[in-house]
Symmetry: C2
Subunit: 191 residues, 2 copies
């Protein structure tokens, strides 16, 4: 799948990094003058809410450049040309050893206006363990199983890593319709 982006047609890549690419273009201002506009692009992220029985599987993770652990969801970068769902399935298996054959896209957001970056969050219903995790040298991960209410309470956790999910967690906590919808998606029947 080719990554969608909202860059103007005349945008040129001026830097290609390990993670971030930078694009620039010459933008006409309202008075006819011109300025260099700039945006960064990073690979999209695919995250997973794995449902295991009545619980949700989250991970405690240390990153090589951080002293403290963070908690978050299994997931990671969508590869070049990779489908986001495929990336979610791959990351879930690598990081936790779990699989599911019942996937739903729950949330898709673009957290920063000047960054081409979309975060996809999938629900993996009825997940089961197939094998041991297969971690990269840059990953230290341990699983944790939490309840629905504990999941919504992650919005209050300072070391919750997926900051871009906080609005949807807060809505699910405080808005009945959002809460019912999420609970159905996680634990309800297949649609």
């Amino acid at each position: 799948m080719e990554k969608k982006n909202q860059l103007p047609k005349n945008a040129q890549r001026v830097f290609q990094g390990a993670l971030f690419d930078v694009y620039q273009w010459n933008q006409e201002m309202f008075d006819g003058s011109r300025e260099v506009f700039e945006r960064v692009m990073r690979p999209d992220t695919a995250m997973v809410i794995p449902v295991v029985g009545e619980k949700i599987l989250i991970i405690e993770q240390r990153q090589p450049d951080q002293a403290a652990s963070v908690i978050g969801l299994p997931g990671g970068r969508v590869g070049r040309g990779e489908d986001p769902l495929r990336a979610a399935q791959r990351e879930l298996l690598e990081e936790t050893g779990y699989v599911s054959d019942d996937w739903v896209l729950w949330n898709e957001c673009r957290p920063v206006a000047k960054m081409e970056w979309t975060v996809y969050t999938y629900i993996a219903r009825g997940s089961t363990k197939r094998q041991e995790p297969h971690l990269d040298p840059g990953e230290k991960i341990s699983p944790r199983f939490i309840s629905f209410d504990e999941f919504l309470a992650l919005a209050d956790e300072p070391n919750f890593y997926e900051r871009e999910l906080i609005p949807v967690l807060l809505r699910a906590r405080y808005e009945t319709s959002a809460r019912v919808e999420l609970s159905q998606l996680l634990f309800g029947k297949r649609i």
Copy 2:
């Protein structure tokens, strides 16, 4: 004020753009192998919630590279070496012509883990109009005065530009203590 950042000491700037700089460093992994890690840095943002009588002043804004208008708060980039409060005062005056002598820092957040970028949101209590706005060639701005409840409802507006404020708006809508605190900060007595 020197910009604080959380980059490791051995991080090197590998790209300097119009808005974004890119830093890289050689990071030791958990198994002793090494990989290039990367982060972007952009100027911090200072935003303002100007209180004018019982109302809050927001702006409707068109940007040169976007067809549709967005709504948001007055504010903009913190200049190199500039204090965030000073930037907030400058942007409020430029974009709206308003001034205040009663400023409070309401919210400070770092929206994206891999980006060195802090967003400061100030409250400018008892704001009054001093002059006409002084807009850049890249700005088309018109003011709008809204109530406290309309302000909290911006969290639901798809064209609300300040996405990083949505969590605090939702909390102020749904959590009594956050609501009372914000209402006091906006309209209450000087502390």
